[in-house]
Amino acid sequence: MRGVFNPQLWDPGIKEFLGQRGAFNADDIIRIIFEQEQAARFIATKIYRTFVYDVPNPDIVEQLAQILRSNNFELRPMLEVLLTSEHFFDQQLRGAVIKSPIDFMVGMCRQLNFTQLPLSYGVERMAKLTLELLFPPTVEGWKGHHLWINTNTYPLRERIAEYFIEGKRNDNFQNFPAAPDVRAFAQSFESSSSARDFVRDVARFLLPLEPGQKTQQYLLDALLLGAPEYKWSLSMPNVELRICSLLKAIMTLPEYQPL
């Protein structure tokens, strides 16, 4: 998108903006905005809240803002520092961000290596989860975080995930052209021959926080569906049903909602 300067609509007089005076045009206004310390802090804060945690750490944010300023507001250097930092990988912060509807829908596709999600379905489901793509509710954007999860959207996320695993839409329209290849997904795990290890590894892959004992047992039961543990293997009958059952169990846990 390019702006066009129309000299006939421009007031060439002296203006005062954020403490500076001059015959400013649009480029000057933008320059002055970026000269404010708060500008870099604002951007850094948004990035922090998107990737790390809803409550920004002021010291970290200031450091990020500094990197932004010294790189002429190029985002890449700042992002590189943030996403490779010890702070980012701190155990305290694992699972501290709640998936936005985009993280949720696109994330499911990526985790299962699925590329055939009908786009209109994806966009419409995200809207039902209160994110209308490219249409923020106010100029502030989306407040997100806890607002993504309520008694209206949480059950809906569970149902969308359940249907998704089987390649179905949960609004009763035509299904996806194909279903996620759950067998290929399972085969990508080395431990797929041991039921218990398999459950543990799949959960580790799909969830930010490793589930506890009770939950692991619940997931194991979901995989075995009554069969004895020693009989588990990828060549057992109805194995896809079992893998789907495990995936549904994992993706309807509350643990699946944090990032």
Binding site: I98, T130, L147, N150, N152, E158, P211, P258
Partner: protein, 504 residues
């Protein structure tokens, strides 16, 4: 201040307006009442009462809602948008209703609507999200809170939230995104859904989530706890909501399908009539649609259509409640983040302003009155916007104190300081514990307040003789009678109330 003193004072305040005859509130003192009743007291005295919040998003133009028909400044400021006097519906000699508000006018005429003029707050914010946050969190314009006034109030009624969830949701929002107003300090006291049937169908009713491992003691862990609470709430409350909806499958009036606000209120009426014990309902006209910067419309167009939607919906809702027998339990208010500017802009619209009227509705409202002066168009603020007469928190204070009988300490923790409540609601009745009490185990009275009679239910620890003393709100004895001997366990007494004056 002791609670009884407080109630007496508010009774005197309410003497300003005339109350319909034949309506009475009963305050009872049982001769032998256990100390544990103190906790029940709050809940019983306000037990049946419901408050409905209607949010008009975007900033409703108050000046074209209630029009100062005799003020030439109004007509000068709005060459294309001003409503001609003869097109308005008469309200007073100097004010007229926008013609689309027939519904409100009828409610006002039969005492079920009150108007509060010139409502805003000091140093008002003219931005949508900041302005809205302020109204929802009940703060001053320079204070930022992440909890809402309704959430904070409801937390005082559910002290062990969220470890223990109340059996039924304390607040319900018909919609999709949970409002900040319902957020407490420890989680949201409200739930949101579109309609009871789809809510129930959506939630996985199997209780697999009853086995939770401990969450780690990290920030991620507390986020997990939050999601778990929502999961539990979804399960419990979808069932509770469905039960209520099943008990009341129909409404008593027909709500037009092309009125979204009416459709939301229709659900609310069903749930209340179906026995859901939810205290607050929040519905809204969404999408910032009242933000009429361009082509607002005077007699036809966006704003008139919105006003019609609002007036019709509230009128139908109150008529429905009356027909369903719940009319006396329900009141509500409209609110919007700000009014709009006096002068119209160059696009046949209006821009963000400040003070505006709001409406309080319900059978138990001190209706048919206008609080405040006509909008003063010759004394505006430095930007040419209307000046404040009442702080919006005075309306909230009235709701909490008069409608829900909240004690002053609650009011101060919810609104952070004292606000003088406007006389808007009929007084609640109170169940006062007696000093020396031992034998009464439980006490409740319904309907509360009452018209023709009330039924007092109580449980006794052992057989005893029961005497009832009826006092008015000033503590004067109205009547007393010996109700006879009662066995231990639960019994009821029916008290005729026709002869009692209002405020008893």
């Amino acid at each position: 201040m002791k609670r009884r003193e407080f109630l007496e004072r508010s009774a005197q305040g309410l003497a300003l307006t005339s109350l319909a005859t034949g309506l009475g509130s009963i305050r009872m003192k049982a001769l032998a009442m256990s100390p544990t009743l103190r906790a029940l007291e709050r809940l019983t005295s306000a037990s049946d009462r419901v408050f409905v919040l209607i949010q008009l998003t975007g900033g409703n133009d108050g000046l074209n809602t209630i029009i100062p028909v005799e003020n030439p400044l109004y007509y000068q400021a709005r060459p294309t948008l001003a409503i001609p006097k003869q097109q308005t519906l008469p309200l007073t000699s100097t004010l007229g209703w926008h013609p689309s508000l027939r519904g409100f006018r009828e409610l006002f005429a039969d005492g079920r609507l009150a108007i509060v003029q010139n409502v805003t707050y000091p140093n008002p914010d003219r931005s949508h999200f900041r302005g809205t946050d302020i109204w929802l969190t009940a703060t001053d314009s320079d204070v930022f809170k992440s909890s809402g006034w309704v959430g904070r109030f409801l937390e005082t009624l559910a002290p062990s939230f969220p470890e223990q969830l109340p059996d039924e949701p304390l607040a319900v929002q018909i919609g999709t995104t949970l409002s900040l107003s319902l957020q407490g300090n420890r989680g949201s006291l409200g739930i949101t859904f579109r309609d009871p049937e789809s809510f129930y169908a959506l939630v996985d009713q199997r209780s697999g989530s009853s086995l939770y491992d401990d969450a780690p003691q990290t920030l991620g862990g507390s986020e997990l706890e939050f999601v778990r609470t929502v999961e539990r709430a979804s399960q419990i409350y979808s069932q509770a909501v469905k039960r209520a909806a099943d008990r009341q499958k129909t409404n008593a009036v027909t709500y037009p399908s092309d009125n979204p606000l009416a459709q939301s209120l229709r659900i609310v009426a069903r749930l209340i009539a179906g026995g859901l014990t939810t205290k607050f309902y929040l519905v809204s006209i969404d999408g910032n649609i009242f933000d009429t910067h361009i082509n607002q419309g005077a007699l036809t167009g966006i704003h008139p259509q919105l006003l019609q939607q609002l007036g019709d919906a509230v009128k139908l809702f109150l008529d429905d409640c009356r027909a369903l027998g719940i009319g006396e339990r329900v009141v509500g208010m409209t609110f919007s983040e700000f009014g709009r500017r006096v002068m119209e802009n160059g696009s046949r619209g209006t821009d963000h302003g400040t003070a505006a009227p709001l409406f309080v509705f319900g059978e138990r409202v001190l209706g048919g009155q206008i609080l405040g002066r006509d909008p003063d168009l010759s004394n505006l603020d430095s930007r040419g916007d209307l000046l404040m007469e009442f702080d919006y928190r005075q309306v909230y204070a009235a709701a909490l104190l008069q409608w829900f009988a909240a004690p002053m300490t609650t009011l101060q923790s919810v609104l952070f300081r004292e606000f003088s409540p406007l006389p808007l609601f009929q007084q609640p009745s109170a169940v006062e514990p007696w000093e020396d009490a031992a034998l009464v185990q439980s006490l409740s009275i319904t309907p509360n307040p009452c018209t023709s009679r009330a039924v007092l239910s109580f449980g006794l620890l052992e057989p005893t003789r029961v005497t009832l003393t009826i006092l008015d709100s000033n503590g004067r004895r109205v009547s007393a009678f010996d109700a006879g001997d009662f066995p231990s366990g639960t019994s009821t007494i029916t008290i005729p109330a026709e002869q009692l004056a209002s405020g008893t």
